[in-house]
C-alpha cells in the first residue's frame, strides 16, 4: 500500500477500479470482492429501478453492463440515491455500442423526467372560481403559473409511444422505424404522474405560458406554429390535467396586478 494513501483512499480506489489490487491490511483478502459486488450491484439496481423501459429495450444483461460502466465513470456524488441517474441519458447518448439505437437516450430522458415529476413539489390547482370572476377584457393579458412538476420534452423519436408499450404491454406493440417524433408533457397534479402527447401547437402554447407569455400572445404564437391550434381545446386540456396552478391578471385600467 502506498504510504501516502489513507486506508479509505485505497479501499475506495480498489472498489471503483477493479484492476487495482485489494488494499493491504485487511483479511481475508478474498472477501474484499463482497464490498465491490455490493457497491456495483446496489448502484446498478438503482439505475434499473429508474430506467425500466431502457432496460426492457436493451435486455437485462446489456443494461447491467452499460449501467456498470456508467457507475464506474460517473459514481454518485450525493448520498441521496434518488438524485442519482440524471446523467445516465447523456451517457447513453454518447455510448458507442448503442449508436444504432438513437431513441434510447431520449426514452431514458423521459424516464428520468418521470422520476423528477414523481418527487417534485406539490401545488394546489388553479382556482377556477376566481378566474371566472375576471372581466373578459382582462383575459388576453392573463399569465399563468404552471404546476411546478410540469415539464415538456420534445423528441425526434416517438418516445411516449415507446414508453407506453414498454410500460403497460406484456407483448409490446411494434413501432415502425421513421415514426414521427413526439412532444410529451409530464405533470403530477396529485400523486400520479400524467404523460400527455402535445400536438397541433399546444406544445408551443404551453411552453410560452410556462415562460410567462400572456394568454393572447401565447395563443398567437401557437397559431403561427400550427394552423390546427385550438385555444379552447388547449385550455380545456390544461384545466383537466390541472397543469395550471395559478394566474396573474393585469388590470387594464390602472396596471395593478392580482394574483391567484
Amino acid at each position: 500500500m502506498p504510504s501516502r494513501e489513507t486506508m479509505q483512499a485505497s479501499f475506495a480506489a480498489a472498489i471503483w477500479a477493479p484492476e487495482r489490487d485489494v488494499p493491504a491490511g485487511i483479511s481475508p483478502q478474498r472477501n474484499f470482492a463482497v464490498y465491490r459486488n455490493n457497491v456495483y450491484a446496489g448502484l446498478i439496481k438503482s439505475l434499473q429501478a429508474r430506467f425500466p423501459v431502457v432496460q426492457r429495450l436493451v435486455g437485462d444483461e446489456f443494461f447491467a453492463r452499460c449501467a456498470g460502466i456508467f457507475v464506474e465513470r460517473q459514481p454518485p456524488l450525493s448520498p441521496v440515491m434518488m438524485e442519482y441517474g440524471a446523467d445516465f441519458p447523456g451517457f447513453l447518448a454518447a455510448f458507442e455500442p448503442i449508436r444504432h439505437l438513437p431513441y434510447l437516450a431520449p426514452v431514458a430522458e423521459l424516464e428520468w423526467q418521470y422520476h423528477v415529476a414523481q418527487h417534485g413539489p406539490d401545488a394546489q390547482p388553479l382556482d377556477t372560481a376566481a378566474l371566472a370572476t375576471l372581466p373578459l377584457a382582462e383575459m388576453d393579458r392573463l399569465t399563468f403559473s404552471l404546476h411546478p412538476t410540469c415539464h415538456i420534452l420534445a423528441s425526434p423519436y416517438p418516445i411516449l409511444s415507446i414508453w407506453r408499450t414498454n410500460t403497460f404491454d406484456t407483448v409490446t406493440q411494434e413501432i415502425a422505424a421513421g415514426s414521427p417524433g413526439e412532444t410529451v408533457m409530464l405533470v403530477r397534479p396529485h400523486n400520479v404522474v400524467l404523460l400527455l402527447p402535445l400536438t397541433d401547437g399546444i406544445d408551443v402554447f404551453v411552453t410560452h405560458l410556462q415562460q410567462g407569455t400572456a394568454l393572447a400572445e401565447a395563443a398567437a404564437l401557437a397559431q403561427a406554429a400550427s394552423t390546427r391550434f385550438d385555444l379552447a381545446g388547449a385550455l380545456a386540456l390544461l384545466f383537466r390535467v390541472q397543469a395550471l396552478s395559478g394566474f396573474h391578471a393585469i388590470n387594464a385600467q390602472n396596471g395593478n396586478s392580482d394574483v391567484s
Partner: protein
C-alpha cells in the same frame, strides 16, 4: 457540548418497546388500508429528501397514526472526512417535519473523495478512528439537535490495524458522545460466523446498557473461495432460527427494546412481513411474562 434531547422527549409518540418494520412504498396501501397491530415504522430518511409527491403524502399519513424512527444510510460517520454539512441540514429539515422518535446511523463509512459508494464499508477499530468517529457523532448530534443511535455493522473483512474489539469501540463511543446504540443481532451473527467466532461471546461483550433499539433481518448464506461459510447481510428473507434464539437471549437480559424487522430485498407480501414482526412481539411478550412469573 449542548445538552442532548433524550429519546422521545418532545413528548410525542416515543417508540414503544414492541415490533416495527422498515417502511417500503410497496406496503403503503396495506398499512393505510387497515389498522395495523404494529407499534411503529422505520424509514431511511434519504428516501424522503425530495420536495413532494406520493411518498411524502403516504409518510405524513402514517406519521399521523404511528411513531417513526429514521435510520440514516448517508452520513458516512466513519469517513476520514467530516459529515457533509448540506446532508445534515437536509436531514434536520426532515426531522423537524416528521419528528421521528429515534434517529440511527451506522458504524461504517460510505463516501470518499466526494463520491458516494452506497454501501456500509468497514473501518479499523483504533484510538485514531475512535477519536474521529466520536467527533463526527458529536457534530451530528449537535446539528440534528438530538441523541442518535449507532448500529454495529455486518463485516466481511477485518483490519490488521485494529487494536480494540467492536463492542469496546461502541462502548467508549457511547460513553464519550452520549449516543445510544442500535444492536443489530443479525449483523452480530453474520460478523461472528464470517470470522469463525462465537456470536454469544460477541453479545455478552456488547454494551447493552446503551442499546435503545434492536434490528433483526435475514441474511444470505454463501461460501467463500475456500468453501467456508460466508454470510451476507442481504435483508432478503425471514430471520433465521439462530438469530431468533440470540434475540430471545438478549431480551431476557435487557428487557423489552423496540425491535425492527428489516426486509428490503425480495420484498415479501405485507402479511409475511407482518408475521415476522408478530414473532418478535411474541418473544417480547413471553419474556415479559417470564420476568413477572
Amino acid at each position: 457540548m449542548t445538552a442532548l434531547r433524550p429519546l422521545g422527549a418532545d413528548g410525542r409518540n416515543p417508540i414503544p418497546a414492541s415490533a416495527g418494520v422498515g417502511l417500503r412504498p410497496q406496503h403503503y396501501a396495506d398499512i393505510l388500508g387497515a389498522p395495523s397491530p404494529l407499534g411503529w415504522f422505520e424509514v431511511h430518511p434519504e428516501n424522503y429528501l425530495c420536495a413532494g409527491g406520493p411518498q411524502h403524502d403516504a409518510l405524513a399519513q402514517i406519521r399521523a397514526q404511528y411513531p417513526l424512527s429514521f435510520h440514516g444510510v448517508g452520513l458516512s460517520l466513519g469517513s476520514e472526512a467530516r459529515p457533509d454539512a448540506l446532508h445534515l441540514a437536509r436531514l434536520r429539515v426532515l426531522i423537524d417535519r416528521y419528528q421521528p422518535a429515534l434517529f440511527s446511523e451506522h458504524l461504517a463509512w460510505s463516501s470518499h473523495g466526494g463520491k458516494f459508494l452506497n454501501d456500509l464499508l468497514p473501518l479499523p477499530y483504533t484510538q485514531q478512528t475512535l477519536d474521529r468517529f466520536v467527533s463526527h457523532v458529536d457534530e451530528t448530534q449537535e446539528a440534528l439537535g438530538r441523541q442518535i443511535l449507532i448500529e454495529n455493522p455486518s463485516l466481511y473483512v477485518q483490519f490488521s490495524a485494529s487494536d480494540m474489539t467492536e463492542p469496546e469501540f461502541l462502548n467508549t463511543l457511547a460513553q464519550r458522545t452520549g449516543c445510544g446504540l442500535l444492536l443489530d443481532i443479525n449483523n452480530a451473527y453474520v460478523t461472528s460466523i464470517n470470522f469463525a467466532r462465537d456470536p454469544i461471546a460477541y453479545l455478552a461483550a456488547f454494551p447493552w446498557q446503551h442499546v435503545r433499539e434492536i434490528h433483526l433481518a435475514g441474511h444470505a448464506t454463501e461460501s467463500d473461495a475456500l468453501g467456508r461459510p460466508l454470510l451476507i447481510d442481504a435483508h432478503d428473507g425471514p430471520v433465521c432460527d439462530a438469530v431468533w434464539a440470540l434475540y430471545r437471549r438478549m431480551v431476557r437480559q435487557m428487557g423489552a427494546v423496540p425491535t425492527l424487522i428489516e426486509w428490503d430485498q425480495e420484498m415479501p407480501v405485507w402479511d409475511a412481513l407482518l408475521g415476522e414482526a408478530l414473532s418478535a412481539d411474541r418473544i417480547l411478550q413471553q419474556e415479559r411474562d417470564r420476568a413477572v412469573a
